[in-house]
């Protein structure tokens, strides 16, 4: 189809055409970036935890008066919980993956180095790896004689005494590869402070940190053999079959309450809830972005319908003349479709540049990666489709204009 008549007609409506192109360009730029942001959020929500997510329960109970021996109380609680029907395994822990609240330590490979090598999270508690269901891929699990009471360890730390401090640790595969790329991490030593040197005895396949905000550092986790003792900050983790979770939760709480009816249950949730809560803002943001994309495309489509209707009405006479001179209905239809395609294409071209600019701005202000080229065709396709869809109605109305219009004066 010859596009010269279309161009010359558009040249007579420079301002209106320019506005339509601007609208398409802006929409294209925002849609490209919004789709990219949605992708980022969905990818983040998919972050692996490394644990048996559908089989875990988290319980925290607190006494109104601190028990005289928190370690004995903790051991009793663990024993009570393991007796509950349906419980497969029980652990105590200071934190859970994606739980937000975290203990972290600075890792050094040499006690005298000036800057830390990296910051990793420290899980402590008994039976963690087995209960969470994270796979040991090398070495051994922590054993009961590795464990030290946290209070004794803190006293030892304060006096600079290296006895009564934990001596071994489990680390994740990712952390091992980051600290000693390509080497066997078993037997290597990590320093948490100049006096706390701990030997790696086992490597875990995967275990996310509670504060997994940066995907690159989400797996920087270690498990240290420290006993916390019963307190409101200690977490009991229960592994059970997915279908038993609700019943086991009720029975476990009842069992803990039996030990002391004045205890306060501060947390009771499944790991599914832990994950849902941790990523709730990402889910909400992805939803808002979808809403914005839909709203933008609708507004742009309505704008195209409005302008195209106006143009069709304005050119009724011209259309009538063309029809009288032998143009078919489909010629007229194709004329308006091609016109829209041209405008959309110019808008999309500007939109790509704008999308790139918006991405540069976002990269500078929100720590986002560069927009991959893949996202440009998505925006282009969306706007071509919206444009063609929107113009169809007015174009059909134009095609229905009878040739006789040409003979009427107004």
């Amino acid at each position: 189809m010859d596009i010269r008549p279309i161009l010359s007609s558009l040249r007579r409506h420079k301002l209106t055409s320019a506005l339509l192109i601007l609208e398409i360009a802006l929409t294209c730029a925002i849609v490209c970036n919004a789709v990219f942001l949605i992708g980022q959020r969905l990818q983040r929500m998919d972050m692996p935890s490394g644990v048996a997510e559908h089989e875990l329960l988290q319980i925290q109970v607190a006494d109104t008066v601190a028990p005289p021996n928190p370690y004995a109380r903790s051991a009793e609680d663990l024993a009570v919980l393991s007796q509950v029907p349906g419980v497969l395994s029980v652990a105590s822990s200071n934190q859970v993956p994606f739980g937000n609240s975290s203990s972290n330590g600075n890792i050094m490979l040499d006690p005298n180095q000036r800057e830390r090598t990296l910051n990793a999270t420290t899980y402590f508690g008994e039976n963690i790896a087995k209960t969470l269901g994270t796979r040991l891929i090398a070495g051994r699990d922590l054993q009961s004689d590795d464990f030290v009471n946290v209070e004794a360890a803190l006293k030892a730390l304060a006096t600079g005494d290296s006895k009564n401090l934990p001596t071994v640790t489990l680390i994740t595969h990712t952390l091992a590869e980051r600290l000693w790329p390509g080497q066997n991490p078993l037997g290597k030593t990590i320093y948490l402070t100049p006096v706390v040197g701990i030997r790696v005895v086992g490597v875990l396949d995967s275990l996310a940190r509670p504060n997994a905000y940066d995907p690159a550092k989400a797996q920087y986790s270690m498990v240290v053999p420290l006993r916390m003792g019963a307190s409101k900050d200690q977490i009991y983790l229960i592994r059970t079959r997915p279908e038993d979770r609700a019943n086991v939760m009720i029975a476990a709480l009842a069992a803990l309450k039996k030990a002391d009816p004045r205890r306060v249950v501060t947390t009771q949730r499944t790991f599914d809830e832990v994950r849902r809560r941790f990523f709730q803002d990402d889910r909400a943001m992805a939803g808002i972005l979808v809403g914005v994309i839909v709203a933008l495309l609708i507004v742009t489509a309505l704008g195209i319908v409005g302008l195209a209707s106006f143009w069709v009405a304005q050119r009724r006479r011209m259309i009538g003349v063309r029809r009288a001179l032998g143009a078919t209905r489909s010629d007229i239809l194709r004329y308006f479709q091609t016109e829209n395609f041209l405008l959309a294409s110019i808008g999309i071209a500007f939109g790509m540049l704008l999308a790139y600019g918006v991405n540069l701005f976002l990269m500078a202000h929100y720590e986002l990666p560069r927009l991959p080229g893949l996202y440009f065709p998505i925006g282009a396709l969306a706007l071509w489709l919206v444009g063609q869809g929107a113009v169809l109605g007015p174009a059909l109305r134009a095609a229905a204009v009878p040739p006789v219009v040409a003979t009427r004066s107004v």
């Binding site: 925002i30 919004a34 006494d63 209070e151 006096v195 409101k232 808002i288 507004v299 704008g303 302008l307």
Partner: protein, 435 residues
């Protein structure tokens, strides 16, 4: 003339209902989205203590060891207990309070209530006067009570409602963590947003239920929650061992009511750091900061990134809606070229036509603004349904209501300028001839 133009505008808008509806809808959607996000941003970046926050300052010093030091690094976000106590005792500001947070178990004497945990703030006497916390009953504990490690407690109005049905409970006793405390004061619904004095608790919608003297907390080893950052061989922070002096876990606020005092207090901090270095406790060169409330909130970037991103997104959307409206208005005005030509030929000046057309776009702006307001109310309701901690705060206030109409009218008048100007360029003779 205004009334006549208004009448003309309404007639013209009625003539093409679909197009008018489209324009109003576009403006309303854009305004609704922008005002929803702008209101959230406005609420979250608001001043927690209007009129008072400019005089409240947060001192920071750097007690860390030499490891990992670099000259322009920020000092730690909090103070060690010993530095906090030293600065508190120095009393070099008009008012000062040292504090940290935690949770304490409350065992109500009324056995129909189960024991529960409540958010606690451990602080010193000036806290209430300095932050302007209003008392419903009673008053704060005294400086002497601070020193005496008194078993005194100030409770929030909501807790007073829960435990005593809102009656004056001053003088009654309350069991916290197994110890009996005497209630000395009841606050009257006080919860600054953001929770500026301790951001570790979460910045929004956080309020303490009980306030206990800091020294009492230290003596009883009450629970500490929040961030504890240690260096060297520092540690602690479990239920029975307090963080050591190589850990920061305290917040310290001072009131300084003149610029001269602020400058003097900066000197105090540098001087204190030097003195501690001479004594051998500090290893680094003096590295002190003194920010007021808004500077502190800004420095900590309390407004979530997502909220700012959503605001940007909404304004991008508004821009598209406005470009859309400009295009439609242009189309509409040009379609009436003949009518405008007649008015010009009959003696209407360009200025008069321009005014008439702007009034027409103003009407669209006003109706779009009302629609946008309704959409913003709906949008804010949706925001409140979300689980974020700031969700409950998303309410439209008077200033934002006003801003909605200014934005709607301003934006549509701006959008009307180009089409109106273009339509006024029409040569009257040409339009009359073609008919």
């Amino acid at each position: 003339m205004f009334g006549y133009y208004l009448d003309l505008a309404l007639r013209s808008l009625r003539r093409n209902k679909a197009l008018t509806a489209l324009m109003v809808l576009a403006v309303a959607l854009g305004i609704g989205a922008s005002m929803t996000t702008l209101t959230v941003l406005h609420v979250l970046s608001g001043d927690p203590l209007p009129g008072r926050s400019g005089e409240l300052y947060y001192p920071q010093v750097d007690p860390q060891d030499i490891k990992g030091m670099s000259p322009d690094k920020e000092p730690p976000q909090q103070l060690t207990l010993i530095d906090g106590q030293n600065l508190l005792q120095a009393k070099r500001a008009d008012r000062q309070a040292l504090m940290t947070g935690g949770q304490v178990p409350i065992d109500p004497s009324d056995s129909s209530l189960d024991p529960f945990y409540a958010e606690a703030r451990y602080t010193t006497t000036d806290f209430f006067a300095m932050f302007g916390a209003p008392f419903r009953y009673g008053q704060a504990w005294s400086a002497a009570d601070d020193e005496a490690k008194a078993r005194d407690v100030v409770i929030a109005g909501t807790l007073n409602q829960k435990l005593f049905g809102g009656a004056n409970s001053v003088g009654r006793s309350l069991r916290l963590a197994g110890t009996s405390f005497r209630i000395v004061g009841v606050l009257d619904g006080w919860q600054p947003n953001p929770h500026f004095y301790d951001l570790n608790t979460g910045a929004y919608a956080y309020g303490e239920q009980v306030f206990v003297p800091l020294k009492t907390m230290l003596e009883l080893h009450l629970d500490h929650n929040g961030s504890t950052d240690c260096w060297g061989n520092g540690g602690g922070g479990t239920s029975s061992i307090l963080p050591s002096n190589e850990c920061v876990w305290m917040q310290f606020w001072v009131q300084l009511d003149s610029p001269a005092k602020v400058a003097a207090y900066r000197e105090v901090l540098v001087h204190y750091s030097q003195e501690q270095k001479t004594l051998g406790r500090f290893q680094r060169a003096p590295n002190a900061r003194l920010r007021n409330v808004m500077q502190w909130l800004d420095h900590n970037m309390v407004v979530p990134d997502d909220v700012r991103l959503q605001t940007g997104l909404a304004f991008g959307f508004l821009l598209v809606c406005l470009v859309n409206t400009v295009g439609l208005m242009l189309a509409k005005f040009m379609r009436r070229a003949a009518e405008l030509g007649v008015r010009r030929a009959l003696g209407a000046s360009r200025r008069a036509l321009f005014a008439q057309l702007l009034i027409e776009s103003g009407v669209i702006g006003l109706v779009g603004g009302i629609g946008g307001l309704l959409l913003a109310l709906l949008g804010l309701w949706l925001v409140r349904q979300r689980p974020s901690d700031y969700a409950a705060l998303a309410h439209l206030d008077l200033s934002m209501l006003f801003a909605t109409f200014v934005l709607a009218l301003g934006a549509t008048l701006l959008a009307g300028l180009l089409p109106a100007w273009r339509a006024c360029q029409i040569a009257p003779a040409l339009q009359l001839k073609s008919n």
